[in-house]
Symmetry: C2
Subunit: 345 residues, 2 copies
């Protein structure tokens, strides 16, 4: 069965859910073009989830994907938090901001009972997870309404785990991908491999369909992923300059700037390892720091700084997520971009 | 002009030169199958180069490639060497080996006047370089007999530099590739990107043909590389189990073992950053160590240890080069493997 049949879509192109930089508008445009639009929900309240899914349902009759995180909630570590805040103190001083100590950042919640209730009201046809899968009980609820479940694997071991634990579709997330690495069985970054090596090994290891993610930014790349045996592709970075995305002004400027040619894996912005464009913070502290609190707590102490810098047009303290190939970013509508990504056959 | 016409070969498949693990036999088999066989010369004396090139010429009338390194000779650093040897001292003790302090390892020489004289006697039709290009004068000598010159780029900047400095063909070496990273303009490992991201960006940046290297281990992968716009592919790891390769017993065992599923970038074995299968030394010291002397000097102090361990069937101190996908390694003749790598069209 082809992935287009499995998911009920026309084109084997999944728009990657990108929490914090897009909502329903991008998803709707991609769905209407025949791809699978995705709504990232990890940073949404229940009310926002309802509002956004309602928007999708009211603008398109096509299948869509709702994405949630499955991380464990971290145990706060006051000593680590203090070390982290001490490292940020000079910037607070520079911007004349008082550090209160209880700044709250963008929350990133794991899929839970409350979110399951919201989803069950809408019964989205596709639900994707990042950082593994939810508990068997929660997963069973999602599957009970017939949703196809997808999740990201960054290693062959993760792909085998996802298949054994009920994923219907596996997204092989190569090292080229922007945003958070979906890694959940190992924290060893040296195990993270490129799409060209990961994709065929995952395909060889599992029986479920495998979607290629990481570095897919053109019709040629889609053709290449399909040639390697992928059932479809997931594309994120290329959509970041579309008008339907909520990408911030500093993020858009960074994507169009020279530094986007060289992305880094960094844990500074959330505590989780993610790929983005380097900026002043990653330059100063090094992109990977043991001081950064556990995911997603590192974001809290950065919130005021980020806001202050962004208000002056600077992305010095903002996460500037991007994959290793930004040449596919175009300032065109997401529907047109989706169609351009299809190889001419 | 197609790469097969440019290089005078039948198949767009280049066998990657792998110094230390292969000589003329592997190159001959690949040439005879219609691909481009390569002879790695960086670790050969002038006499050995003459002998090996003579062997190729006497066994095949087809074009072949001769590969050389272009690194700068390092300035020995006695303090760093002492630190390095102190770290290795416990192993010497364990194996009952005396550390003399002047152990010589496998030499890796940059292309020089002497090597140019040898090459000029044979006028090989293709000459490839790793770590940049030789001096303009030396390069001009190679080009004077009509050789096509290839070199490896690990970033877009390196590709542009190689094109501007006379390379006829550029090998885009993705992060998935085994063996030494060809990086020569930057030492920042975070700039090293996966094949899926590197290849299309290099193709976009230069006018010369671009060869895909890194993770290419099957006919599907060759098809994918061609779909991404590559003029051809360079395949290394997949050939390591062929009977024509000189791959050591411990290296062959490692390629067939479980640890080959997870390779690491390490500088322990030569001082240069290269991808290989982890072993006791990389476990104990960490794969990347500031103590390792500059390329290629780190190999010297390991030589006796490596020999002692290998004599008991252990690869604890041996470089076990491999790319991120060893599933293409087959114990079949290199000619058959070359033919299997061609996509059915």
């Amino acid at each position: 069965m082809r992935i287009t049949d499995t998911l009920g879509i026309d084109l084997p192109i999944i728009q990657a859910p990108m929490a914090g930089v897009q909502g329903s508008a991008l998803a709707i445009a991609v769905c209407e073009a025949g791809g699978l639009g995705s709504l990232p929900c990890a940073m949404l309240s229940s009310d926002s989830m309802r509002r956004e899914i309602t928007a999708i349902r009211s603008h398109t009759g096509r299948p869509f994907n709702v994405n949630l995180f499955c991380h464990s909630r971290p145990v706060p570590d006051p000593a680590r938090e203090a070390t982290w805040r001490a490292q940020l103190a000079p910037y607070y001083k520079e911007f004349g901001i008082e550090m209160r100590g209880d700044e709250a950042g963008p929350s990133r919640n794991p899929f839970d009972e409350e979110a399951a209730v919201v989803l069950s009201e809408f019964r989205p046809p596709v639900v994707s997870f990042h950082f593994g899968l939810p508990s068997p009980a929660l997963l069973a609820r999602v599957k009970a309404w017939g949703a196809k479940v997808m999740s990201s694997a960054t290693t062959v071991a993760e792909a085998l785990w996802l298949e054994a634990n009920g994923a219907n579709v596996i997204i092989a997330q190569g090292l080229e991908a922007g945003g958070h690495r979906g890694m959940f069985l190992s924290k060893d970054l040296s195990e993270q491999v490129g799409t060209f090596a990961l994709l065929p090994q995952v395909i060889r290891a599992v029986k479920v369909p495998v979607i290629a993610a990481g570095g897919v930014a053109s019709a040629d790349a889609v053709a290449a992923a399909l040639a390697l045996g992928a059932a479809g592709v997931q594309v994120g970075t290329a959509y970041l300059l579309c008008p339907e995305a909520d990408t911030s002004a500093v993020h858009r400027a960074a994507l169009k700037g020279g530094r986007a040619r060289h992305t880094v894996l960094t844990n500074l912005f959330s505590g989780g390892v993610a790929r983005g464009i380097p900026n002043r913070l990653t330059d100063d502290l090094g992109p990977l720091s043991p001081a950064a609190p556990a995911f997603p707590l590192a974001a809290n102490a950065l919130t005021s700084l980020r806001r202050a810098a962004e208000s002056t047009g600077r992305g010095d303290f903002s996460p500037l997520w991007a994959g290793q190939n930004v040449t596919g970013c175009k300032e065109i509508g997401a529907a047109a971009l989706t169609r351009e990504l299809m190889p001419r056959s």
